[in-house]
Structures are given as C-alpha cells and as structure tokens.
Amino acid sequence: MGKIWRISGPVVIAEDMRGSQVFEVVEIGNEGLVGEIIGLEGDRAVIQAHEDTQGLKAGDEVKGTGGILSAELGPGIIGAIYDGLQKSLTDLMAGGNEFLARGIKSYALPRDKKWHFTPTVKVGDTVGGGSIIGTVPETGLIEHRIMVPPDKGGVVKAISEGDYTVEDIVARLEKDGEVQELTMMQKWPIKKPRPYSKRQPTERLLVTGMRIMDYMFPLALGGKAAIPGGFGTGKTVTLQQLVRWSQTHLNIYVGCGERGNEMADALYSFKELTDPKTGRSLEEKEIFIANTSNMPVVAREASIFLGITMAEYFRDMGYDVLLVADSTSRWAEAMREIGGRLEEMPGEEGFPAYMGSRLASFYERAGQVECLGSPHRMGSVTVTGAVSPPGGDFSEPVTQNTLRIVDAVYALDAQLANQRHFPAISWLTSYSLYADSVAECWNDIVPGWSETRTAALKMLQLEAELEEIVRLVGPEALPEKDKLLLLVSKMLREDFLMQNAYHEIDTYTTPERAQLVVQTIMKFNDLAQKALADGGNVAEFRASPVVRKISRIKDIPNETVEQSIKELWAEMEISLVAQKGGVA
C-alpha cells in the first residue's frame, strides 16, 4: 500500500509503491477510485485514474489489487449494460444509482444468480485449453458454452449437472498430479488477445440488411471496416442498424465517448425489436458497453479493449460476433488527452506517436479462426469502427491511420446527408476488399450478383461524370440516352441505395429482395433503351406509372414482394414498349 504524492488531472503519482507491477489496477483515496499503474520509477508509481480525481489529497492511500485490468467472462454477460471498466450499469440502476458517483462499484457478473449447467464431457475425458466442457442456456438465442481457460487443461476428475453460480466449482481437472478447479467464470486481461488455433480466410458474407453495404460493398464475417463521417452524417444510426439486423450470433455495441441520449434510444429500441429469423427479442443477443462522452475519459480507452475481449470470448465458443465501436476517434482522443497529461512527446496533431499501432492492435483482433480445444469449431469477430474526423476532413491522423488497417470503408458524405439521402454512404468513395472473397457466397444466394453489381456501380460512376456536364449545360440539353442514364441512376440512388432505418419494412432487406429491386431497375433501363431506339423519349418514361411503382417497392411486405415485382415486370413490358407509337 502506498500514498499519493501528486495529483494532476487524471494522472496521480503515488509513493511507497514498491512491489507493484505495471498495468496493475489500484484503488485510490477513501472513495477507492479505480486507476491503473502505467509506469514505475523506483518506489513511485505513475497512475492513470479512470475516474475524476477532484477532491483527492496528497497523502491519501493507494491500494494495489494485485491484478491487471481484466474482463470477467461467464454467464450473465448477455443483455447487460457495462461501463468501460465493466461495472454493470443495470445493477447500479437497480440499486438506485441514477447518477454515477465516483468510486461506485458493482460486479460485472451477478454473483447470486444460479445457472443450469449441463456437462458435455464426462469424467475420464481429456480436455485441453479452450475445450467446451458444458453449456448454460443463457438466453433464448444464445447457448453459453463453458470452456476450459486457455492456460488450463487435463483429465476430467469430476463434473456434474446442476444449478451453479459463477463462482461455484463445476469441474475438476487433473494434470501432472495437480488439481485444477473450474468455475463458469474466467478472467482475461483486456489488452491481451485471446489465443486460437489457426486463422482462416474471410470468405463468408455478413448479411447486414443494409442494401448499399450488402450489395455494393459487402463485408465478410471476420472482416474489419471503418465508417468515417463528419457530424450529422449518420454514423450512429448506421452502426445501430448493423447491430440490429446483422445475421450474426451475437453483437456488441461499444458507445465510446458518445451521446447518452442516443445510447438510451438504442437500449430502448432493442427491447422492442425482434430478431427477423427467430422472432425473439434482440436484447437476447446484445451486449452494450456505454462509456458516454461525459463519463471518465480514461475508462474510454479501456471500453474498446473490453468489448473486443468479450467478442473473442464468444468467438472461442464458435460463434460469429460483430463488434461496433462508436467512435474510435473519441478513443484516440482519450489517448491524446492522457498522453498530454503524461507530458509525452506528441506526434501528429498532438496524438501520441503510438496511436497508429494501438489502433492496429485493436482492429487486428478481428478475424475468422479455428478455435482452441475440442470439439472442432470456427468462430469469427467482425469489427466496425466509426471515425469522427474533425471538420469532416479525412486527411486527419485518426482517419488516415484507420484506413491503413481496415479492408472495407463506408465513407459518409456530408452532401448526401444534407440532402437527407440516408444511409449517406458514398458509392463513389467507399470500397470493400471483401467483394471478391465473398463473391462465391453471394452468387450462391442469388445467381448473377457479380454482373448486376458491376453494372449498377458503373452506371453510378457515369452519372457522377455526367453531373459535371449537367452543371454546365443543363439537363435539357443532353441527348436522350444520357437523360435516360440520369433517370435510371436516380432510381438506383433513391429507390435502392436510399434506405429508411425507421421504416418497418425498409429497415432490413434480404439479399434476395435486394437483387429483385436492382433487376427491376436494370430491366427498366433495358426496356427504355429499346423504346428510345424506337423513337420514344425520356420525358414520357419519367411520367410513366411504373416509375412511381418502382419507388413504392419499399412499402411492399416481404411476403408478397416477389409476386408484386413479377407483376411490375409484366407491366413494364407493356407500358414501356407502348411508348413507341407515341401512345401514353
């Protein structure tokens, strides 16, 4: 135990700290504020406090806890809301804590709740680190698979079915005459990646239900993506859509230095929403980490690592996990703020020189892997991070460092957002390197995806070029075929890429449905081109009722959409050909 020697913002220097280790968690002062030792000099320790240090005094005591910052992993984690240090905010709320006073404590996993444990191995079996030894039905959507911690393993000496708390011993293993006692809870240091047996290529499509993502710039399970965008461009809504509808087993939402009201909005909406496949509440497959912008800045740094550690834990069970982080810029700013207090030599724009490698160490924990232990299984962690560049300028260091690491970028465009085109993902600057690796997967779902996607993207690119000319000569001066291109690409933009997150049907689109819509627009294009060659004109096409009908496809329920679209195709064949004779 030591005592405080100096306090300067979130940095506390304590003396008489000999025997502590770097990154050890300490409790500071009478209130027991959580802090982490980030440096040792002789018997002095430099501590980064994870809570507001106002009111601390020189001479106040500092207690070491003997361990480094770790996550508690076990049943009870799903559906919870944690802060960046894994305090359960739901438990605190139940205890009447509407405000988070400093030094407040709560367990991450409930200690008194009993879970029904069913073994999947028997006495005499040999199990290695990472092997599954039993299951707990945690929620209706997720079976919690209890694993041997990666550093343990041996011959099962005792294991039995029953109701246990997370601290009860559920199994005993023996190795080299040494007995290991296993509980359902394990602890893992958050900054250390959890081990796996082998990495695998990312070739499976992650269906998000967002048309511009799935269709134009698909993301792979185990992939890493960034969503950069200035304020008001819809980062948060986009990320929330991802955790709502992505076809994964489990989603983790890390609100890192963002808005409290939006967090509340997300939490409430998840209570009401149901999983499109199973009809069960989405809450049963979500974990929330809420470290809002007014909560201690240092805990912001921990929140991202906490999230990815939880993601890896569920990956190790053999699940596909999606983690979204909103926003990694706030995370980087927390590093800058702490670096400044520590009087470190700053790099670009005041950010610490290690910011790039820290960002990389987070994103690199994404991937698809073969898990440790038995039975043989695969799991994946997909990471999507929002980036909030100051002034919407992508040349700033956090965006640039992120672009170097990620393989898919969904660039949000202020111009589109101002026109209320949402999601404001620019089709001209976004890209996904997974488009090739998931092509097989896509074409299995809907044959011909590669071709229609390429055609649609090309058309949008041509439109952008044509726009330049329109600005000089006006739309009426263009030849008919260019006018048609403008009309069709406008349909692609407004009737396909634009998607209303708040619309009951439009909020989630299956790949099959997406393909039908694009085919409809392309069919319109083909028919109109033919009609044009026969002497039709674009003004007539524009006034045609089928144009309005295409724009209303969004309102058609999934059950009847295929039927309705087939009818629409038939109508197009008639009405777009009829223009030939000049008949309206």
């Binding site: 106002q54 601390l56 020189a58 001479g59 809301i81 009201n261 509340a264 809002t292």
Partner: protein, 463 residues
C-alpha cells in the same frame, strides 16, 4: 446537506508567480481542484483553484491573474472544498453572477443544499430517450428540426446574425404541451456584451417570464475564469429544479464560443500542449461534460433541455468550436448569412440544420400524424429546387423543363412562406398546413414520400 469546513488552511510561502499561476509550498490536506482565496498585500482577495497538488508544491490558478501579487506579503487560503452552488426553490426569479453570487440586489439564497457544480454523469442505463415535443412556434424548427425535452440542440450562428433575436423569440414562445406550469428557463450569459445581456433580461421581464427564470450573468467585462463556471452553475440549477422539483427546464447558454475561448486562454496559461488551433485536447470532453447533462431519467418527472448558442468564427462550421459541439449535441440549427441578406427572418439554413431527435418527438399524439411525411417531402422538394436553382444560374431558367421550373418556384415559395415568418408565433399545425399549401402546387405524382391517405386528408385542392 454539506456544511462548510470548520477551519481553513493558510500558506504564506509562495515561490513563483507567472501569468495566472502561482506556485506555493505544499500543505498537507489540500484537495485537487479545491477553491482558494489569494490575499494580496493590499488586502484584495482573488479567487483561485488548486490545479496541481503534490506534497512539495501546490500550483494555484488565480482567477484574474497574478498582477500586483508579491511573493513576500501575499497569502493563499485553502477553503477545503470545490465550487458549490447553494440551491433551493427560491432561486427561481433570481439573477446570479458567474460564481453564484446574487447580483439582483436580493438577499443570498437560503440553501437547502450546496451542490457540486460539476455534477455526476447520468447512468446511461437510467436514461429514457427524449420523446416529447417542445413547440417553439418557429416553423423551420418545429416543422423540420423539432426540439424535444431532454435534447441538446445548439444554434450555430455568426457575428452580425440575428441569433439573439431568434433565441429571445424561442424563449418567449416555447411551451411544452400538458406541462405549462412546470416549464422554467435557465439563462446563462457567458462573456457576451452588456447590451446583449440587457436585451435578454429586458425581454424576459417584458414578457413576464422572469418569475420562471433563473439567470447567471457573466458579461465580457467580468473575469474570464468565471466563464468556465457560469454554464456549470446554470446546469446545476437546472438539474436541481428538474430532478428535485420535477420541472421541465430549458437551459440557454450564450455564447459558448466565449466559453471555449476562455478554456483556451486558461489552458495556454497552464502551458498545456495545444491541440487544433490552440484549443486544449480535452475540449471535447469538457464540452461533453456540459452538454451531456441534458436528458430525462427513469422515474423522474422533470427534464433538462439545453440550447447552447455559439458564433462560428469566420462563419466556418468546421472550426473546432462548432465542430466539437456538433459531435456532442443532437443536431444543430444553423443560421445563414445568405438568407439573412435576402431579408428572411428567421434565416435558418434547413440543409445544414438537423435534429437527431425529431423522429421520436413528432407524429400522432405528439404533433400530427402527417408530420414525418410532410417533413421528408418538404426537404426533398426544397433540395430539388435548390439544385435546379444552382443549374439555372449557369444556363438560365429558360432552358429548364416545365417540371423543373415548377420546382424553382417551390424553392422560392418555401423560403418566403415557410421559413420566413417574422416574429409571429405559429402552432405546429399551422406550420404543417403551410407545407401542404406548397404541395398543392405540385402534381400529385411528385409527392412520393407521403402516404396516400394523408394526401387525401390534408392536400388542399389546387387553386
């Protein structure tokens, strides 16, 4: 209730004084961020704060600077506590300075509680999402960028633009349906000119709103350091009225640009490493600690709504002050010089403006069933009109098709009839009906974003 400490510590050993900092010999028991009185040889007392505390030395930031301070005869008195605001229901109708002292000639407040002005962060799990509409009586806000209880919605303006006039109009007209008696205004003037402060106070008094107002005034000539505490005091008062007395508070903070300038000034004095344009790296967190105090809480009746006003230096929305603010607040109302020059009032640029909470705050039972559709269609039509207006400046309006000309007219009428309303109050129904009047000039097929049933119900017959 927290009482004042029975004793204070005093130190005379001052080793160094520079700018606004003085370095004193360490005294045991001094808290980090503790309030300090510095007594000069002349007897003058200045306030300060302990910003770096160690066993050997204590660094004190002196509010008002260290001029005339000598190292021999001055003393530092540690008050044993951080800045607190005395509160009771009697603060309603009162006016205070930037450190919470009454300046309206009235007696000091008999306090029920002394609250730490920094507050504590709300537990995100205890929040409930804002969802109740506040009618401001301004079409561009109510119709297209609705304000809801518990939201933080800033006004981004620039020098020479009528943001004061608009704010005064909102203060005069704002009402929350079904809770009129519980609506209070907290007004914080931060480093604005005496005239501006006087304009607001006069306005509040004239309209009889003063009895349900608490004001905190720090004018341009008051100490810079108090600009940091002024918004914190205002929010502490708002939280007290909202959470202890179930009131719906609207906190107006003007001008947050002055707050950020003060932050930069103090940061520079502390020799901190500057971030963008010399502002400190923690400015985002600092602003968030202020703005995030808005919200609603489960099981509590009241709400804290914040409307900060800031002037964008050089009309630049990417300047760090509006930029960081926009990343924290739930949208923004942007005042446009261009519309102002065209003689529109209020000159609100609806493309740059945004309310993130509008979806939750409008619709059946809140405003009117057709609100969302009208809002989307108005944006779409105006955007189309503005796009064509841009093209027509190059190629001339004559070269446009009839349909395009129609949209040009709609854009002009939208600005003249919908946005520009003068200092009159419009109910939200009146606002929506103006929208429908504009739609009547368009062919029905163009109203793609409106449900058929609403078109039948609300669309006036074309005249």
């Amino acid at each position: 209730m927290k009482s004042a400490p029975l004793y204070v510590r005093e130190g005379r050993a001052i080793n160094e004084a520079k700018g606004s900092l003085l370095v004193a010999k360490g005294i045991p028991g001094v808290q980090y961020n503790e309030m300090v009185d510095v007594r000069l040889a002349s007897g003058e007392i200045r306030r300060g704060q302990a910003i770096d505390v160690s066993e050997d030395v204590i660094v004190v930031q002196v509010f008002g600077g260290v001029s005339e301070l000598d190292l021999e005869d001055s003393a530092v008195r540690y008050k044993g506590d951080t800045l607190r605001l005395p509160v009771s229901i009697d603060i309603l109708g009162r006016t205070f300075n930037g450190i919470g002292g009454p300046i309206d000639g009235g007696p000091p407040v008999v306090a029920d509680e002394f609250l730490d002005v920094n507050g504590s962060p709300m537990n995100p799990a205890s929040r409930i999402p804002p969802a109740e509409f506040i009618e401001t009586g301004v079409s561009a806000i109510d119709g297209l960028n609705a304000l809801v209880r518990g939201q933080k919605l800033p006004i981004f303006s620039a020098s020479g633009l009528p943001h004061n006039q608009l704010t005064a109009q909102i203060l005069r007209q704002a009402s929350v349906k079904g809770a009129e008696g519980k609506f209070v205004i907290i007004f914080a003037a931060i480093g604005i000119s005496y005239n501006d402060a006087d304009f607001f106070m006069g306005n509040l008094e004239e309209t009889g709103a003063m009895a349900r107002t608490v004001a905190f005034i720090n004018t341009a000539s008051d100490p810079v350091i108090e600009r940091i505490s002024t918004p914190k005091l205002a929010l502490t008062a708002a939280e007290y009225l909202a959470w202890n007395h179930g009131m719906h508070t609207l906190v107006v903070l003007t001008d947050m640009t002055n707050y950020c300038e003060a932050l930069r000034e103090l940061s520079a004095m502390r020799d901190e490493i500057p971030s963008r344009r010399g502002y400190p790296g923690y400015m985002y967190t600092d602003l968030a600690m202020t703005y995030e105090r808005a919200g609603r809480l489960l099981g509590k009746e009241g709400s804290v709504t914040i409307m900060p006003i800031l002037t964008m230096p050089d009309d630049d929305i990417t300047h760090p002050i509006p930029d960081l603010t926009g990343y924290i607040t739930e949208g923004q109302i942007v005042i446009s010089r261009e519309l102002e020059r065209k003689g529109m009032y209020p000159p609100i640029n609806v493309f740059l403006s945004l309310s993130r909470m509008i979806k939750e705050g409008i619709g059946e039972g809140k405003t009117r069933e057709d609100h969302n559709n009208v809002f989307m269609q108005l944006y779409a039509a105006y955007a189309e009109g503005c796009y064509l207006r841009e093209i027509s400046t190059i190629i001339g309006a004559e070269a446009l098709s009839d349909r395009d000309k129609m949209y040009l007219t709609i854009a002009d009428r939208f600005e003249a009839e919908f946005i520009s309303q003068g200092e009159v109050r419009r109910t939200v129904e009146e606002t929506l009906d103006i929208g429908w009047k504009l739609f009547a000039a368009l062919p029905k097929e163009e109203l793609k974003l409106i449900k058929e049933e609403f078109i039948e119900k609300y669309l006036p017959s074309a005249d």
